[in-house]
């Protein structure tokens, strides 16, 4: 009834190609942004910001990065954790060399280092496909993890082999380190994620995204219609790694405040891959859903017993949470193998005809 586009005429190409062609969607996204930028910083607690919202933003960005590669271009990668690590360590090196530079800028620039490393490890994708490529990216993961311990220059010869994030500012306000308030860090993370999501959704709708999808659907056919495979695939690796690198830098600088090789291990890669699969392959929206489900649900589950005044031992909650999340993942995949993004689409479709379904 309310969610209908009837009567909304598009009178120009620009209107037809808008990111949100339907008025209701525009209102919805404006409301979400308003809540995220204004309401949340005003009312959210430190815990909600630090342990729930900032992680979800960071992981969503990483999931978008992997989604560009795996969901849109069809190249399976298990190196996400490593690429995130490259971003984090690059940002750390950059801020040690240029301590007075705007840290927000450095976080975004550190994605470039990650993109370079990503393209190098993307080279085998020209030759190998599917599971074989997954194994090649797995090698990238292990190699990068090894570098993060074995090259002490990366962590400034710290005895603990960890990077500890110093206080850094942007426009005179501390953004990272212990003196940065969680609201500042949240707003910076949110701005980066919103901007990069907007760029990503335009990339995938445009020429580049279409070539990626053509390659994903059938690479021989794509080649026949004149798409240069190696450029397309390398570009996918580079852009995907750029996103992962920025997410990694955000993880170290805006979320944890310290990181070591272990923070970017194979489990991190799997975590992001699960987010992409559960959220929906080939969907930007799905990346957010996946991150919310995989990171957010355990936190909600952990807080649930206490909220209802039931005392359950911390370890028991942990075990229960593993079981519940595992069961839910299986449930969602059975109900909707195409991920939560598909469920969302179905819901929207239902909403259009509500309350008179046919």
């Amino acid at each position: 009834m309310f969610y209908r586009e009837a009567g909304q005429y598009k009178t120009s190409y620009a209107a037809d190609q808008a990111l949100f062609p339907i008025l209701q969607d525009r209102i919805g996204i404006a409301a979400i942004l308003l809540i995220a930028f204004v309401v949340v910083p005003l009312f959210a607690s430190d815990f909600l910001l630090n342990s729930f919202l900032i992680p979800i933003l960071v992981l969503s960005l990483a999931a978008i990065g992997l989604n560009l590669l795996t969901g849109y271009t069809g190249l399976l990668s298990l190196g996400t954790g490593g690429f995130m690590g490259v971003g984090a360590f690059a940002c750390y090196k950059l801020t040690s060399i240029f301590p007075d530079a705007n840290i927000v800028l450095l976080i975004v620039v550190s994605g470039v280092a990650s993109a370079a490393v990503g393209s190098v490890f993307g080279l085998p994708s020209l030759r190998i496909k599917g599971f074989y490529l997954a194994v090649a990216t797995l090698a990238a993961q292990f190699f990068l993890s090894w570098c993060f311990i074995r090259i002490p220059w990366l962590y400034n010869y710290n005895v603990s082999a960890a990077i500890e994030v110093p206080t850094r500012t942007a426009f005179g306000i501390p953004v990272t380190g212990p003196n940065a308030t969680s609201v500042t860090r949240y707003l910076v993370a949110l701005s980066i994620v919103v901007a990069m999501t907007w760029v990503a959704s335009n990339i995938v709708r445009g020429r580049i995204g279409r070539t990626w999808m053509a390659v994903r659907d059938m690479d021989i056919a794509a080649e026949l219609i004149g798409i240069r495979l190696y450029r397309t695939k390398l570009l996918a690796f580079a852009i995907s790694s750029f996103y992962c690198g920025v997410a990694g830098a955000m993880l170290a600088f805006l979320w944890l405040g310290a990181a070591e090789s272990e923070s970017f291990n194979i489990n991190q890669s799997f975590l992001i891959l699960f987010m992409v699969i559960i959220g929906g392959l080939g969907s930007i929206m799905g990346s957010f859903f996946g991150a919310m489900l995989i990171w957010g649900l355990p936190i909600v589950l952990r807080a649930a017993p206490e909220f209802f005044g039931v005392t359950v031992r911390a370890a028991t909650v942990e075990h229960l949470q593993f079981m519940v999340v595992g069961a839910l993942i299986i449930f969602f995949l059975i109900v909707e193998p195409h991920g939560l993004a598909r469920l969302w689409q179905i819901a929207k479709q239902k909403l259009r005809v509500w309350p008179f379904p046919y």
Partner: protein, 444 residues
């Protein structure tokens, strides 16, 4: 129809929620002591006994004495799984409840929250783990790592080795193997080890164990067999320890030349290899066994009443008693804070002062019902947040740990300059680092 149920359900749910919130809102005089523990994940083998020990001693104080100074302790565990992200989440979760101290129980988590501690005014107790440099109180007023740092531990091992070899100068030309957890924890002793190698003229062979390969060390031990080091030193944790002990026994490495740090000395670390592990040495700074009145009180007032998760036969094991030791430090710091401030319900700021002037004399250990349980804590001060206290060497006799040395004092003169340098290095790398503003108490 459906809608009706939904509305009904929502109404009932909100009622329950509201009543729960109301019941929790009752104020109560108490001291909140969160325990960051890990009973799950690959490090649970080491984490469970420690979690039990920490919890049981504090619970015993509640049951036997009604808390500390008449104020009940609220003990809450938060599961970290030895994972940094989850540990930070736990820290954020407990922060709002005004904890008087936080024990991260993981070097990685400690590193992540060190810079936050000064901002949040919460003292961090990282007992003989974490950042060694945080012993420098002038730079790290909120971090405490008694009774000894890793570098102290290494120097104590060398005192022991020197004793066995007939002098440290006899090490010239020998080889010492160092097998370690390939992460912050295991990397920390390396600078001092290399300095020792230079000072005493031995060669160091390093055997890193990556976290993912903790249970797969056979290849590495083949290298050990080839290199034939005269002594082996281990910095291991979790599943890495029992694997290393088993592998060492398998290649017939002389176990009485194999020394672990205090975190490699759990009963479950040596037990899987059984009689083959006989002779394996580790450092320790807490007594083992149940033969202490305070541990008997734990059995009587907590474990027998079913208020603990500890299986009765695990009480008195090394890592369990390590947990008890940790809680003794917490409890004594709180007590000291009450004494200094005259307040009953102390805050994190007060407990920080309590830690800075923490003293546990031999007589006090006895008074606590733990005679000879640990070396007297007497050197923690405003500038020295560690104290560099003594530890002893213990040996596995096939079924249990036996004390085989007296208290060994660390080489403070070698360790302290390194610590000062490391602290300075940390501070320069983390500029701007806040200057210490907290005044020192007179009593220290």
């Amino acid at each position: 129809m459906r809608l009706k149920y939904l509305v009904l359900g929502a109404a009932v749910g909100s009622l329950v929620g509201a009543s729960v919130l109301a019941s929790r809102a009752e104020a109560q005089e108490s001291i909140f002591v969160p325990l960051l523990t890990y009973r799950t994940g690959p490090f649970a083998g080491s984490g469970i006994p420690i979690a039990n020990g920490m919890h049981d001693y504090l619970a015993m104080l509640n049951e036997r004495d009604g808390g500390i100074g008449g104020v009940k302790l609220v003990i809450e565990e938060c599961e970290t799984g030895y994972n940094n992200a989850k540990g930070v989440e736990c820290y954020e979760a407990v922060k709002s409840k005004k904890p008087v101290v936080v024990n991260p129980y993981s070097t990685g988590i400690t590193l992540a929250i060190i810079p936050k501690a000064a901002v949040d005014k919460i003292p961090i107790l990282s007992m003989a783990y974490g950042l060694s440099a945080s012993a420098v109180g002038n730079e790290f007023p909120w971090i405490f790592n008694p009774p000894a740092t890793y570098w102290d531990g290494l120097s104590m091992m060398f005192r022991y080795i020197g004793g066995k070899e007939g002098g440290l100068d006899k090490l010239k030309g020998k080889t010492i193997g160092y097998i370690y957890f390939d992460g912050g924890y295991g990397l920390e002793p390396i600078p001092l080890l290399e300095q020792f190698a230079k000072d005493y003229g031995f060669t160091v062979k390093k055997y890193p164990v990556p976290p993912a390969e903790m249970q797969n060390q056979s290849g590495l031990w083949l290298n050990v067999r080839r290199d034939r080091p005269d002594w082996m030193i281990m910095w291991g944790w979790g599943a890495m320890n029992p694997t290393a002990v088993k592998e060492a026994a398998k290649i017939n490495y002389p176990m009485d030349k194999f020394i672990g740090i205090w975190w490699s000395g759990g009963d479950d670390d040596a037990r899987p290899a059984g009689a083959d592990a006989k002779g394996y040495l580790t450092l320790n700074f807490n007594g083992v066994g149940t033969n202490y009145p305070a541990i008997q009180d734990i059995v009587k007032t907590v474990v027998d009443k079913g208020k603990s998760q500890t299986p009765k036969d695990k009480i008195g094991e090394n890592l369990y008693n390590r947990g008890v030791y940790n809680s003794v430090l917490i409890a004594e710091a709180i007590r000291n804070a009450q004494k200094i401030t005259g307040k009953k319900v102390v805050t994190g700021e007060d407990v920080r002062r309590g830690f800075e002037s923490l003293k546990i004399s031999a007589a006090r250990w006895k008074e606590l019902g733990l005679p000879e349980f640990g070396a007297p804590i007497e050197a923690v001060s405003c500038t020295d947040h560690n104290g560099h206290h003594a530890a002893y060497m213990q040996q596995w006799d096939g079924t249990k740990w036996v004390k085989v040395s007296d208290w060994i004092v660390p080489m403070k003169e070698k360790v302290r300059p390194l610590l000062e340098a490391a602290a300075k290095d940390y501070v320069t790398k983390n500029q701007p680092w806040p200057k210490r503003t907290e005044p020192c108490d007179k009593s220290t």
